[in-house]
């Protein structure tokens, strides 16, 4: 079932068109991630769905109902903000209960729902504290708690993990994914971090300058990027994008090859190069190899036990089956 549908939605701020007309469909229960570099319009798109911004043209349809003119509170969506936007003068309990209080629920029902949410999010012992007395991760959970008590039809997350340190981020990523599995509610999640997109999403929407570049499952985007932008954006380290005679040899303007699809040899191979900086991750090793044939150094993945010192001369061979070819407009050639 299509739960949220955008038809020809566009947004202008004065003379600047932030989002040209676009169509998007989000299925019931899906975890959709909007990903793109900063300023690509992903947050604006989320705010259009939430109703915090008005669409310039087009329609937002939620649960089969045209919600374009409906105020945010009546769209039955809940949002988790980047700054968490907790109410600093209220206890955690009152923060979580706030939407229920505004909805006019009786005290007993409010308490029951708050206790439930606190249980799910491990916040029970913090209920009487103020947000200022909590750590970043706990505040994040309070913000999520405030969203889930309303039992909305969909959750909107606006870069919720960007204020957390790296270790916490990985933990919260798992918790949010787990929450999604448990609640089976639609979630729309905005991030600039493609790792978050890859690890959490059922469906990724890649945006650039307000335009949807590609929609698909994480592996679909990884294996079949429709254009150079998606190819370069999805995947870490980035795909190597090569132009020039080597690309022409494959009848393309640009060819792309991921770091794991290049094999290294010390005596023979297609491309000759010199090892530059090496990044040891333990499980993998990434070599930055300068080849005279290409302008930019190539990133190559090898096993964790491979060790090549700086300046070593090596040969690289791409795996032809995993070569991506793009035309001069940056579109994928098949």
């Amino acid at each position: 079932m299509k739960q949220i549908q955008l038809t020809q939605v566009s947004k202008r701020f004065g003379d600047v068109e932030v989002i040209p007309p676009l169509d998007l469909e989000i299925e019931d229960g899906e975890f959709v991630v909007f990903v793109g570099p900063s300023g690509c319009g992903k947050s604006t798109l989320l705010r259009l769905i939430a109703g915090l911004e008005d669409v310039t043209s087009g329609a937002v349809i939620i649960n089969g109902e045209d919600a374009t003119g409906i105020p945010p509170a009546r769209r039955s969506l809940a949002m988790v903000f980047q700054s968490y936007a907790l109410y600093p003068h209220m206890s955690v309990r009152k923060n979580i209960a706030f939407p229920l209080r505004m909805a006019g629920l009786d005290k007993a029902e409010q308490n029951r729902r708050v206790e439930d949410a606190a249980n799910v999010l491990n916040l029970t012992e913090y209920l009487d504290r103020r947000p200022g007395q909590l750590s970043g991760g706990q505040r994040q959970r309070v913000a999520i708690g405030r969203a889930i008590v309303r039992e909305p039809t969909a959750f909107l997350f606006d870069e919720p993990l960007s204020n957390l340190d790296a270790a916490l981020r990985v933990g919260m990523r798992l918790e949010i994914s787990e929450l999604h599995k448990r609640l089976a509610t639609t979630m729309i999640y905005v991030t600039h971090d493609q790792v978050e997109a890859m690890t959490m999403a059922d469906k990724i929407v890649v945006l650039q300058l307000g335009v949807i570049e590609q929609i698909g499952s994480p592996l679909e985007l990884y294996r079949n990027p429709q254009n150079i932008f998606v190819a370069g954006f999805i995947g870490s380290p980035r795909m190597n994008l090569l132009e020039g005679s080597e690309a022409a040899a494959h009848n393309a303007h640009t060819i792309g090859i991921r770091p794991e699809h290049i094999s290294i040899s010390t005596d023979k191979g297609d491309w000759e190069g010199v090892v530059g900086v090496t990044e040891h991750l333990g499980s993998d090793t990434f070599f930055h190899v300068s080849c005279p044939a290409f302008a930019n150094p190539l990133t190559v993945r090898a096993g964790g036990d491979v060790d090549l010192s700086y300046g070593t001369k090596i040969f690289l061979t791409p795996d032809k089956a995993h070569l991506h070819r793009f035309d001069d407009k940056g579109l994928r050639l098949t």
């Binding site: 509170a73 700054s83 109410y87 939407p99």
Partner: protein, 276 residues
């Protein structure tokens, strides 16, 4: 090292305080014999038993309270309005702040002669325009007039502090409240007002300190007549009009005690907003 600052502050405070205490125990009449020796607590007893004392305390508290209520309420309203994007915002803000730059004496005289004069004042003209008998502001409605003049002077201060507080607000909190189903009034009551609590506290504390010693406005308008004699004004009369330094000093000590009682009450009521 905090010693130099402490010494400076103590000296600054202790010298006048000690001198006030010193004179309050003396019969000191500069034009009628000068220093006439120690009299113990006589000045204190005389000051309190004077029929002007309790009315003066009441007037002082009424002016402070009235001005606080008006400036805080109107200040919040004005700050909310000035926070809205409007055409000519910069000029409007400067105009709103302007009264604060007018000296108390000047503003007292301007109000007295240009607005409240029962014959030629602006208000008198308006009253006559509707066929009504002009109000004799400073004699028949002396306290409301004074509260109005002083509120006009202090409103910019309250507005300015509350406006900066409103501007420092995290707008995502308001958006979150909007998503949570709070209507505009609810957003103001549950989010904006608690956010302003600290700024309101600062406004109340600072204004109280200055309002307790209001003098110039009374001096140039009613000169303490028509029930507008505050404690400060009473002390002024005792020292300069009656030329009784000892009695006035005893009044000064009472004023210090009153200020401290008010301060303790205020800190009890609103001071907890300053924590955390």
């Amino acid at each position: 090292m905090m010693a130099p600052a402490v010494v400076l502050l103590l000296g600054w405070m202790l010298v006048p305080l000690t001198m006030t205490l010193f004179f309050s125990f003396k019969k000191y009449l500069p034009l009628r014999g000068g220093d006439l020796g120690w009299v113990g607590f006589e000045n204190y007893v005389r000051f309190v038993s004077s029929s002007s004392f309790w009315p003066a305390v009441g007037t002082t508290l009424l002016i402070v309270g009235g001005v606080l209520v008006i400036t805080v309420l109107l200040g919040i309203a004005l700050a909310l309005l000035l926070d809205q994007p409007i055409w000519g915002q910069g000029i409007v803000r400067i105009l709103v702040i302007a009264p604060f730059f007018v000296m108390p004496t000047v503003s007292g005289l301007v109000w007295k002669n240009m607005f409240m004069d029962p014959v030629n004042g602006f208000f008198a003209h308006i009253w006559r325009l509707f066929g009504a008998e002009p109000i004799q502001w400073l004699s028949h409605a002396s306290m409301p007039s004074l509260v109005m003049i002083i509120s006009w002077q202090w409103l910019p201060f309250a507005t300015l502090i509350l406006l900066t507080a409103i501007q420092s607000m995290d707008f995502e909190q308001l958006e979150a409240a909007e998503m949570d189903g709070a209507r505009p009034v609810g957003r103001f009551w549950f989010i904006t007002l608690p956010h302003l609590a600290r700024a309101i506290t600062v406004v109340i504390l600072i204004q109280t300190i200055f309002l307790l010693s209001i003098f110039a406005e009374i001096f140039v308008t009613t000169a303490g007549a028509f029930g507008t004699k505050t404690l400060t004004y009473l002390i002024f009369q005792r020292v300069l009009e009656s030329q009784n330094v000892g009695l006035g000093s005893a009044g000064g000590v009472y004023a210090i005690i009153l200020a401290n009682i008010v301060a303790v009450f205020l800190l009890r009521i609103v001071g907890k907003n300053l924590d955390a």
